[in-house]
């Protein structure tokens, strides 16, 4: 610690005491906070997931082994599996639409025009907004009797309630909010394509389709794919929009994994063992997705932060 303010003591190599002290001083506050508020609760809940712990009833928790997990996994017709498949369906639908719309708009935005920067920024507004707040307002637009959407469609569809439409209501709100994100990454992908390739294609009199298929698409793909994995991960843990639009009742088309967790984990007098086990299933799936995202992010950014000499 004393080496922290002394002017000498760092020329003598990386392993010296003062450098190590500085490093620890820098890193420890962050690690301490992360351990206290992320690692510790997660480990604690890992323990709870093997018991029948119940915070309301004041009895000692009983160790039940894998029982919570087995009861979750072994009931294929159960709500848990359905919540996972609903979440998967939502990921496919929304990320697919967001990618198509985002890439399409990015293609339109490619050519330069006056005010393009500001226009692009204005298109990004939806993703700056709070999903919970916008979701609350979407309920007004989705209202069966006087909602603007039904009026536009000249329909009297019941968007809320337990109709299958509530799934599409959530999907619509999500696609609206996050297509700009895919547009952003598509634009970045398109901007990374060297102009010279198009000039060469021009010389060869390649058709527009050929240029698109063999230059635009493959070269913009890494960035777009990065956006896709980001969005897949985010949609996988979706909570706000579904909760705000349709509440946390079980058995709804919008009871996604996070929503089910909220219903069971904060539902009152039940044992916390099963909800924490469910949380762990969600965690494992999310961590797998997150690892994928991070490795891919590293690849797209094209630089290796570690192992590089200073």
């Amino acid at each position: 610690m004393s080496g922290f303010n002394s002017p000498s003591g760092r020329r003598d190599g990386r392993g010296s005491f003062s450098d190590r002290a500085v490093r620890n001083l820098c890193i420890l506050p962050a690690l301490a906070l992360l351990i206290a508020f992320n690692v510790f609760p997660l480990l604690a809940s890992l323990g709870v997931s093997f018991t029948d712990f119940n915070p309301i009833i004041d009895t000692a928790p009983r160790f039940t082994g894998m029982e919570n997990y087995l009861s979750l996994v072994n009931s294929p017709r159960d709500e848990v599996w359905r919540s996972f498949s609903r979440t998967g369906a939502l990921v496919l639908v929304t990320v697919g639409l967001e990618t198509a719309i985002g890439f399409g708009v990015a293609l339109l935005l490619r050519s330069r025009f006056r005010g393009r920067g500001l226009f692009t920024a204005i298109l990004l507004i939806p993703m700056m907004l709070s999903p919970a707040v916008m979701g609350s307002f979407w309920r007004y637009l989705f209202n069966a009797d006087y909602g603007a959407l039904n009026w536009l469609l000249d329909a009297r569809w019941n968007w809320d309630g337990s109709r299958a439409l509530s799934f599409w209501a959530v999907a619509l709100a999500e696609v609206w909010m996050w297509s700009p994100f895919m547009m952003l990454l598509s634009l970045a992908g398109l901007n990374s394509i060297p102009k010279a390739l198009y000039e060469a294609a021009e010389v060869d009199r390649a058709s527009r389709w050929l240029r698109f298929r063999h230059i635009t698409l493959p070269l913009a793909a890494p960035m777009i794919l990065l956006g896709v994995v980001f969005r897949a991960m985010d949609t996988f843990r979706l909570f706000d929009t579904a909760m705000v639009l349709n509440g946390n009742l079980e058995g709804q088309p919008t009871t996604f994994v996070s929503v089910l967790l909220h219903a069971r984990g904060f539902g009152g007098s039940r044992s916390l063992g099963e909800p924490t086990a469910l949380a762990y299933l969600l965690l494992i799936a999310s961590l797998a997705l997150a690892t994928l995202v991070l490795r891919y992010l590293d690849y797209v950014r094209g630089d290796r932060y570690y192992g590089r000499r200073l």
Binding site: R23, I27, I122, S130, S258
Partner: protein, 295 residues
């Protein structure tokens, strides 16, 4: 006949431009319509919010079967006169600003540490740190709410600040590490050879150059905590409630939902962050894409 060659049927650039402009304008209108309609709904009297057809033209009177509604600012007055809403608004501002400041400060330090003193397993430690940002809030909320009830942190601003700090911290550490990597260590080493302490070298040499990274981290952190809902919903009840929870609660279980006041509250809550986001758009883009897009 060769489809790989440029044919006669293709639109020329000059003919394609108006089509493109039209499509872009249509997309912008559809994309902004919900927000615009929210601004309009905030200015409606209760009778006009539930009218069919929906009324979206501000006027002085509202004839039957027209699109006109009676323009009023009463909803804003009502929201601004409501002490509880104002308190929750203050909570939102206070919590997001404090947690952003804390996470940027602690995260910059940690980023510096990870960048300048590589150690074995550091890369994995960093991946671990960032992956906590990607955890589903609900998977962590159950154990955290239990821990908070033991520590007396439930429903306190301090509790939410700590939690948001943690979630932004992982991102901040990772972003700042990447940024500081781009600043040559030779500058600080030169400063230290001149007799400056490492602390001074950090403050005078690294900090100014790391400002774009700090801005990107801060903007993204601020927007995420400003908009956060899941933790605020599960960990607060009366004292530390933030605006996203409050605004959804306005809808409540009413049969006659007060759409006007709800929209007014939502408008007041969204406008600052939209202006902020537009002003800092370059930094926002960089932050929201985890540095993948330079902005």
């Amino acid at each position: 006949m060769n489809r790989y060659r440029r044919g006669q049927g293709e639109l020329s650039e000059s003919k394609a431009a108006p089509v493109r402009a039209l499509l872009l304008a249509a997309y912008a209108m559809i994309s902004l319509a919900p927000v615009a309609y929210m601004l309009l709904t905030a200015c409606k009297v209760p009778a006009d919010t539930a009218a069919v057809p929906p009324r979206f033209l501000p006027g002085l009177s509202a004839p039957e079967d027209s699109f006109w509604f009676r323009f009023t600012l009463a909803n804003f007055q009502r929201v601004l006169a409501d002490a509880q809403t104002l308190r929750y608004f203050f909570n939102s501002v206070f919590i997001s600003v404090c947690s952003t400041a804390l996470s940027v400060a602690i995260g910059s330090l940690a980023g510096y540490g990870f960048s300048r003193f590589p150690f074995r397993g550091g890369r994995d430690a960093l991946f671990f740190v960032l992956s906590t940002r990607m955890l589903p809030p609900l998977a962590v909320a159950v154990p955290i709410s239990f821990m908070y009830s033991r520590l007396g942190l439930l429903d306190t601003r301090f509790g939410l600040i700590l939690l948001y700090t943690c979630f932004n911290l992982s991102f901040a550490t990772w972003m700042m590490k990447a940024f500081i990597d781009g600043i040559p260590a030779a500058y600080e080493e030169a400063a230290m050879l001149d007799g400056h302490s490492r602390w001074e070298a950090m403050r005078r040499v690294v900090l100014p150059q790391a400002m774009p990274g700090i801005a990107a981290t801060a903007v993204f952190s601020l927007i995420s905590s400003w908009n956060e809902y899941a933790f605020a919903l599960t960990l607060t009840s009366t004292d530390a409630v933030t605006m996203p929870v409050r605004i959804h609660a306005i809808i409540g279980d009413n049969s006659a939902i007060p759409w006007g006041p709800m929209s007014a509250a939502a408008t007041l809550f969204l406008l600052p962050i939209v202006f902020f986001g537009l002003a800092m758009r370059k930094h926002l883009i960089r932050g929201a894409t985890f540095g993948a897009v330079k902005g």
